[in-house]
């Protein structure tokens, strides 16, 4: 933009640089507190830091320790079990709910609010509530047995092989309403003319959804996927509230592993290396996404 003639050069300079000046503090803050500390963590992960951080580089010892630790194996495996099931089921459930709500039903507003409400709870509340519901001695199992079905069993919470699925269950309950809202917005944004044209041509409704509406919602799928995957990777509070990582360490996730190492065991180097591995997982998901986003804008 060209400044009008006769303006003071100072004002001209301000006009050009005001956006930069305003953005500078937050830019610096992000640089230091996000990228600076990522760098710091990466450095510490290469040292033998225990109680307090040390700065002599010792090589990849912490990563070697990490990858032979059976507890990390469990935690890292759980991340994939939890992440894949949680993302897939929450998205399918969200989509189905959104399509059902899209049928111009009368109480849509009320139902939408009900489904969206779990999102308003913190994961700690969700975890505690589900802990009681799933507790075999207090919740579902005890209730159904109380009705006379003496052989009913639902002890996933206390079964080391199944406990991770209770976390999936609670997380889906919490998030699928939010995914539904995302998809509902997407469904509504599809051009009505195309749908009407398809209906005039006598195409059945399910074909309208599978061939027209859902493909045109690809960006919404991507956003839902990104939101859910970062929820999955950083999951911590839900595990702490629901199972405390137990039985044993059967429901540990990388985030709870890192917390235990850093804050309970005084093993900062180990915690830093697990944090770096978590970050690499995030990068593995986010980088292809950013790449495709940027490329499509260039093209």
């Amino acid at each position: 933009m060209e400044a009008p003639k006769g303006t003071h050069p100072m004002i001209k300079w301000l006009e050009e640089n005001t956006p930069k000046l305003i953005l500078a503090p937050s830019f610096i803050a992000v640089l230091v507190f996000v990228y600076g500390f990522i760098g710091w963590t990466a450095w510490v992960s290469l040292t033998r830091s225990r109680l307090l951080p040390k700065y002599e580089i010792e090589g990849l010892i912490q990563y070697e320790r990490l990858f032979v630790s059976p507890r990390w194996d469990t935690a890292f495996g759980n991340l994939f079990v939890f992440g894949i099931l949680f993302i897939a089921i929450a998205m399918i459930l969200g989509l189905v709910l959104a399509i059902l709500l899209d049928q111009n039903i009368r109480t849509e507003g009320a139902i939408r609010t009900i489904y969206l409400y779990p999102m308003a709870l913190s994961m700690i509340v969700t975890g505690t509530a589900w802990k009681w519901i799933l507790n075999p001695g207090l919740g579902l199992e005890a209730t159904v047995r109380g009705w006379g079905f003496e052989n009913f069993r639902f002890d996933w919470l206390v079964n080391p092989d199944m406990a991770i699925y209770t976390i999936v269950l609670a997380a889906i309950w919490q998030s699928s309403g939010f995914v539904m809202a995302l998809f509902l917005a997407g469904l509504r944004s599809v051009d009505g003319e195309i749908i009407k044209a398809a209906q005039v041509d006598g195409i059945p409704t399910w074909r309208v959804y599978t061939a027209i509406i859902i493909p045109s919602m690809a960006p919404i799928f991507l956003s839902a996927f990104i939101v859910l995957s970062h929820l999955a990777i950083k999951s911590f509070d839900l595990v702490i509230a629901l199972t405390g990582g137990g039985p044993g360490y059967a429901t540990d996730l990388p985030a709870t592993y890192m917390y235990a190492m850093a804050f309970s065991r005084g093993d900062i180097g180990q915690a830093a290396s697990s944090a770096m591995v978590m970050m690499m997982v995030v990068f593995a998901i986010v980088v292809p996404y950013l790449y495709s986003e940027l490329r499509s804008k260039d093209g």
Partner: protein, 414 residues
């Protein structure tokens, strides 16, 4: 202007008094925030104030001390350590190695601490020969608590060996009573494990395995037997034990739902709070086998600047080890005094048993630090052992696999 001069003068006067008397100042970082514990620490606070000191309380709740340690780390890194910090076991030496602990030998020697503390507990309070911490209490960990009525109704005597325990538990199970009240949290699994290990390995074996981390002992047949007994214990808990808090397990013993609990003597507080009488309603004996596992709370003293703070540190150290505080604090908390010369007239029968066992075991060398409560090993090694113990307890892993995993985990934690 006048008021300015006045305040300046009074300011100078204040500086002069502080320099002359060095009024003791102490900032104390601790995590005793729950009811009984807060009451216990208030006793110390009051004594400190009565002796002319100014106490700045810095309680940090949460995570069984994890949050307090995080706060401590931040304070030390910023070069502004508190005067005294609730720390215990090898963590004291770990902090000493960071070069941040003070030397309070003058107070310790003037008050003859060496003569009144059991030698193995005194060793925890010393950093390379100088005193750097003061103990407040001794919790015994290897207790077995029982519901007297349930045992009587089923004609069972308190078990003296693990075989007797197994026989009693089988009998109780057949009678429809949960033999062992237990909460499936890693530290509770570890508490039961170390009681079993002390019984089966014996005091010397326990020291070799969990203090010295001797590989031969850790992979011995006896260690396999320890895990075998843990597998048996798993059969004696109810199906709903996962994640249960220890005090809920204590309540199960109290109301007769379960017969035994293996837990440190903080469980006694739960019984007493419910109006139960030791020896009549509930029984306390040490777990089968010889030895005494202790969990000693203590305060470590950090390097501070200024005469007032150093005076505060010295006063605090003296008061913590004072007979009066050791008595009042431990009556509140359910533990026993660390010093052996405190009159025990007001203590209950469980505490008296604990005190006499501590004395006897100190003399024959079987007074041992609890690994499960962070007294024997540093965090990384103790955590590695607990991981294996809880993984074994909560799965169908074989004892031989568990022993192999134990050796690997310890090697990996170094």
């Amino acid at each position: 202007m006048k008021s300015y001069i006045l305040s300046a003068v009074s300011g100078i006067a204040l500086v002069a008094t502080t320099a002359a008397f060095a009024e003791p100042q102490a900032e104390v970082l601790h995590y005793w925030t729950s009811g009984g514990e807060a009451k216990s620490v208030a006793v110390l606070q009051k004594e400190f104030a009565d002796n002319g000191g100014t106490w700045t309380d810095m309680p940090v709740a949460g995570g069984g001390g994890d949050a307090a340690m995080t706060a401590l780390r931040a304070r030390v890194l910023s070069g502004n350590a508190p005067t005294a910090v609730q720390l215990k076991g090898p963590a004291i030496q770990e902090w000493y190695e960071e070069g941040v602990l003070a030397d309070i030998s003058a107070v310790a020697e003037a008050n003859n601490w060496d003569a009144v503390l059991p030698a193995s507990i005194a060793a925890h309070m010393k950093c390379e020969g100088t005193w750097c911490a003061a103990p407040v209490n001794v919790h015994r960990v290897d207790w077995i608590w029982a519901n007297a009525e349930v045992l009587k109704a089923n004609d069972i005597a308190m078990p003296k060996t693990w075989d007797e325990f197994n026989a009693a538990a089988d009998k109780l199970k057949a009678a429809g009573i949960i033999p062992l009240a237990h909460g499936g949290q890693a530290w509770q699994d570890a508490t039961v494990f170390e009681a079993v290990a002390l019984g089966i390995l014996g005091p010397d074996g326990f020291r070799k395995a969990f203090v010295e981390l001797d590989t031969d002992t850790l992979t011995s047949d006896k260690m396999v037997a320890v895990f075998d007994q843990m597998r048996k214990m798993r059969g004696y808990v109810d199906g709903n034990f996962s994640g249960r808090d220890w005090n809920l397990a204590t309540a199960m013993v109290m109301n007769g739902e379960a017969a035994f609990q293996i837990m440190g003597d903080w469980a006694k507080g739960e019984f007493l709070a419910a109006g139960k009488v030791p020896g009549k309603d509930f029984l306390c004996v040490s777990t089968p086998g010889d030895g005494f596992l202790y969990n000693v709370d203590s305060f470590a003293f950090f390097k501070v600047d200024g005469a007032d703070k150093i005076a505060g540190q010295n006063l605090l150290a003296k008061l913590i080890m004072g007979q009066n505080f050791q008595k009042v604090f431990n009556l509140n908390k359910g533990s026993i005094p660390a010093r052996t010369d405190v009159p025990l007239d007001d203590f209950d029968s469980c505490a008296l048993l604990s005190a006499s066992d501590m004395k006897a075991s100190s003399e024959n060398g079987s007074l041992l630090p609890s690994y499960a409560h962070g007294m024997a090993l540093r965090g990384a090694q103790a955590g590695a052992i607990t991981d294996v113990v809880t993984a074994h307890f909560n799965s169908d892993m074989s004892s031989a696999d568990a022993v192999k995993m134990l050796a690997d985990a310890i090697a990996n934690s170094m």
